[in-house]
Symmetry: C2
Subunit: 181 residues, 2 copies
């Protein structure tokens, strides 16, 4: 799938973050990975070259204010296939292709509506935020991890956010550690 | 403060988890700390003695179905003082006394209403879940960490939940790592 996706016009014309590439399981190293804070990169994607993390964070952060399409738009439209765990009128939940736990599901609002990140939330977003939160519980139920699961939301580059479309990570199937990263 | 609190009837009659003790900064080692999964314990609280983590998880999990008071009730009632960051009719946000980042705030619903953990959420809880989520953003704004913050919700012992009153952790002020614990 990765090869097909990477050769698509979307990837030739859109700024794609390291996290986005991880989601689709990309192995192509000629990505914008250097723009991403090193601490946020997962093991197999870490690159040895030193780079300015502050500049990286700023580069990622600049995406936060833009309403440019992200890879999630293609996942919502099913143009990019994903392993869907749960879907309703408002939310979509699909497996992370680079899981950090035996169960690792990403939950997103179908309509971004300005929610590039949690830090952009306004009072009017409370309804969709509640639906997303509750969807995380539904995912845990469907995945059989109600006995123990962790939900993580990253907002901004210092928290390792890479795709600027609000998303919740749901982790389970292993003992989680503390602190959480 | 810790001494006064630990000598109170509340602590003599209530099962208190290691996490709850951490929140109030307790140094008393004669606690129920051994009931808590070792991976969830923070550095200074880790004990060397081997113990059955599965049994520990089950012991913690048994609290999840009970509506027994937790330390958060005393924090909400102000019987136990806390460093409050934000408060409204529905939610209370206060600093974690054992912070895992320069900014570490706990956000809770004032009315637990069955939400001992996220895994117990029902559709009727969506409204308060939305308010909690949005309160996390307000906290980030007040603490000056809108450029990057992470929100974490632990549900159940395998995720390191210790206090069975739903709560969100808000972290900021440092580069967060991946995976998140």
């Amino acid at each position: 799938m990765a090869v097909a996706v990477l050769s698509s016009p979307f990837f030739r014309t859109t700024l794609v973050s390291a996290r986005a590439l991880a989601i689709i399981g990309a192995s192509n190293k000629r990505s914008s990975i250097a723009q991403f804070p090193r601490q946020c990169l997962r093991g197999k994607h870490v690159i040895a070259a030193a780079h300015d993390e502050e500049a990286s964070a700023k580069a990622s952060s600049s995406l936060a204010d833009k309403e440019d399409p992200t890879i999630f738009d293609k996942i919502i439209s099913k143009e990019i296939p994903s392993s869907i765990v749960y879907e309703d009128e408002y939310v979509l939940a699909f497996r992370d292709i680079n899981p950090q736990a035996p169960i690792h599901v990403v939950v997103i609002p179908k309509l971004r509506d300005g929610l590039t990140q949690l830090g952009k939330a306004e009072a009017r977003h409370e309804e969709i935020l509640g639906k997303l939160f509750y969807a995380a519980k539904i995912v845990a139920e469907k995945e059989g991890i109600l006995d123990g699961f962790r939900v993580v939301i990253n907002s901004g580059p210092a928290a390792c956010q890479s795709v600027y479309h609000l998303h919740l990570h749901v982790f389970g199937g292993r003992q989680m550690k503390w602190p959480p990263g």
